[in-house]
């Protein structure tokens, strides 16, 4: 009975129409109220054809300008990178250094002596003339010991070289008159002549100031000879 009851109820309601149950129901009014609650449809904008062409042209110009700007920016960045790389002390660097080459040349330099000093003869002296020469050398890295760069020698340094010792005739101050005897002696023994001259030089240099007169006499005598 129960199953039949439910089946009969179901069949009866399946074939029912809304007009039979609720005759005054206004579908259109219900739809108007319902459509107001529904979200509005997205309206599609109709774009004319010439607008698309204009948009294409504008888009092309924009893309071109952006591309050019991008390329220029990239060039600037690359230049900056190159400069940065050049500043890095990675690659070996060559710098010009100067070196000095000495050339000797004989010049006559007057010997200036103090008044108190004994007069000396003019002697030929060797003068070293400095010449600059450029030498290329690699520079050591920074992290290593700092590179020592010799400064350029701009001044000519004078090195006084000793002139060859000339023969000095040994003369004893007290035995000037015995010159003939000493000459004869040296002629017989040259080694003795040398020893005697050396002794005479030393004695002249060590001559005290009180004996200046004697020394001048000695030099005058030597010149005259």
């Amino acid at each position: 009975m129960g199953t039949d009851f439910e089946k009969m109820m179901n069949d009866k309601m399946e074939n029912a129409s809304l007009h039979d149950v609720l005759p005054g129901f206004d579908k259109d009014q219900a739809w108007d109220e319902l459509s107001e609650k529904l979200p509005a449809k997205k309206k599609r904008r109709v774009v004319p054809v010439w607008w698309t062409h204009a948009a294409a042209v504008v888009a092309g110009v924009l893309i071109g300008s952006v591309a050019i700007t991008t390329i220029l920016n990239n060039d600037d960045k690359q230049a900056e990178q190159q400069v940065t790389i050049a500043n890095k002390p990675v690659a070996p660097q060559v710098i010009v250094k100067t070196d000095t080459v000495y050339v000797t040349k004989e010049v006559e330099v007057p010997v200036v002596q103090p008044v108190a000093a004994p007069l000396q003869p003019v002697q030929k002296q060797q003068v070293v003339v400095a010449q600059q020469k450029e030498v290329a050398q690699p520079v050591k890295k920074k992290d290593q010991a700092p590179a020592i760069v010799t400064e350029t020698l701009t001044e000519e340094k004078t090195v006084i070289a000793k002139a060859p010792v000339k023969k000095v005739k040994p003369v004893h101050l007290l035995d000037i008159e015995n010159e003939d005897r000493n000459t004869a002696l040296y002629q017989s023994d040259p080694s003795a002549k040398v020893r005697s001259g050396f002794a005479l030089q030393i004695s002249a240099e060590r001559l005290p100031a009180s004996n200046q007169h004697a020394s001048s006499i000695f030099h005058g005598f030597k010149k005259s000879k």
């Binding site: 009975m1 129960g2 039949d4 009851f5 439910e6 009969m8 109820m9 179901n10 009866k12 309601m13 074939n15 029912a16 129409s17 809304l18 007009h19 039979d20 149950v21 609720l22 129901f25 579908k27 219900a30 739809w31 109220e33 319902l34 459509s35 609650k37 529904l38 979200p39 509005a40 449809k41 997205k42």
Partner: protein, 188 residues
């Protein structure tokens, strides 16, 4: 208006148009199912105005959630929309009052011998009135079991009651309805 007059597109195309927001397609879908959905709401909600409001809210939910619907053949859209309407009705009843409140206070008659032609002689309007006379709890469980074909387990989950409560409520609803129909047939 072309869609309303020709009816040349199938249901899937109609659904796609409704998802796109085509008012004409939505109106066509509304016209197609308005009677069935309104009757469904009227079975659960006796007041016609309340049923109308609930039906409109149900349609609105259908259109808004139509992109989630998966078409599985003829009748799938109708069943999906009907489910939405029933949920809308249950939500309305839950807001209004406790559905099961007062159901146990009624004395229900035991099973009565009901003439098979008694229901056939009644009109749909009279039958609907008798259903409306049931308490909300009885009526809801009777509708879910008789017209929607749900099991007691499904009804228990949907209404948050036990299976036995659903069975008991259904038994009382049927007995009361049969007695009412019998009295109605005797009076007429």
């Amino acid at each position: 208006m072309t869609l309303r007059t020709t009816h040349t597109i199938n249901e899937q195309e109609l659904i796609a148009s409704c998802i796109d927001g085509e008012r004409i397609a939505q109106r066509q879908l509304y016209d197609k199912y308005i009677d069935f959905m309104m009757l469904t709401c009227l079975r659960y909600i006796p007041n016609a105005e309340d049923a109308r409001e609930v039906m409109m809210d149900g349609f609105c939910n259908c259109f808004k959630n139509l992109q989630k619907f998966e078409y599985r053949g003829d009748g799938s859209l109708k069943a999906w929309m009907k489910k939405i309407m029933i949920n809308q009705c249950l939500m309305f009843l839950r807001k209004k009052d406790n559905i099961l409140a007062g159901a146990n206070e009624l004395d229900y008659a035991s099973d009565v011998a009901l003439d098979n032609d008694a229901i056939g002689r009644m009109s749909v309007k009279e039958l609907m009135a008798l259903i409306h006379s049931l308490p909300d709890g009885y009526r809801t469980i009777f509708n879910l079991y008789t017209f929607e074909g749900m099991t007691h387990k499904e009804i228990g989950v949907l209404m948050n009651i036990s299976d036995n409560t659903s069975k008991s409520q259904l038994h009382k609803a049927k007995a009361l309805l049969q007695k009412t129909i019998l009295d109605h047939s005797k009076n007429n």
